[in-house]
């Protein structure tokens, strides 16, 4: 019952994040979705990733969104989608049907007991290449932050010079 309530809340938060007319409100709904996903992960027996999701997904990413929205300003006319509405819905229904079909065998399974093994061993020994790649990606993220903070030094006057 608790699982159903959390899932319902999560889906409502996700829908509101897409439907909200103001960008700032959308970011806050996204943070709520993230917090409920973290709660669900904790209840599934994955506390480490739940903590990281809560601090990064609900904390850092929300701060980044609020920062970017403050810089770029609120611009929220609810514009009509570029794709025709029937095409959008047909592709979503096809996507969900296919996904549901492949997930069907797992529906009837019960949750096995969580086995105690060390996350450190898996992360640092079995997936060591991924950790190295993460370090490189974090460097790319730093470059992204520099791009976020830079003022944008384009010179429209040059067009007149030519």
């Amino acid at each position: 019952m608790v699982f159903i309530l959390i899932v319902a809340g999560m889906v409502v938060c996700a829908i509101m994040a897409i439907r909200a007319s103001r960008l700032l409100i959308s970011a806050i709904w996204l943070a709520a979705t993230s917090a409920l996903v973290a709660l669900l992960m904790y209840m599934l027996g994955a506390p480490e990733v739940a903590v990281i999701e809560l601090s990064v997904g609900a904390g850092l990413v929300t701060v980044l969104f609020v920062f970017a929205i403050n810089i770029s300003g609120e611009e929220t006319p609810n514009l009509k989608s570029l794709l025709p509405r029937p095409l959008t819905w047909i592709s979503i229904i096809a996507f969900l049907t296919l996904l549901g079909y492949f997930c069907l065998p797992a529906f009837l399974r019960s949750l096995p007991e969580a086995q105690a093994s060390s996350l450190q061993t898996v992360l640092w020994e079995d997936r060591s290449l991924d950790v190295v790649l993460q370090a490189l990606l974090i460097f790319a993220g730093v470059l992204g932050v520099i791009g976020l903070l830079s003022e944008g030094n384009h010179h429209p006057a040059k067009e007149h010079d030519v």
């Binding site: 889906v11 897409i18 979705t33 996903v37 990733v49 970017a68 300003g73 529906f107 991924d130 976020l148």
Partner: protein, 103 residues
Amino acid sequence: MNLSIPGIIIVAAVALLGIGFYGLLAVRNLIKVIVALQILVKGMMLGFVLAGRLAGNVTLGQSLAIIVIVVDTIVAVVGLALAVQIRQRIGSLDIKTLTSLQR
């Protein structure tokens, strides 16, 4: 209807994936496209953790989810940086105005 816990989590993951996919297709604001991408990835992360748990190796699922969180955050940072720069240069966050790049 009596759903098992994996069934409930699968419904949640598929719902998040569907909402994110809808957002990617239907939304025209660049920042909202990144919000939709975040929702999509959250659904996938739930799937990773559940798959790890069902396979009896929850730590592998957790380590994959941690990697996805890092990558997802960096995608958000780079995407937001691009959105801010586009807003400063073109003056709009509407993805339709980006077609002016074709000219």
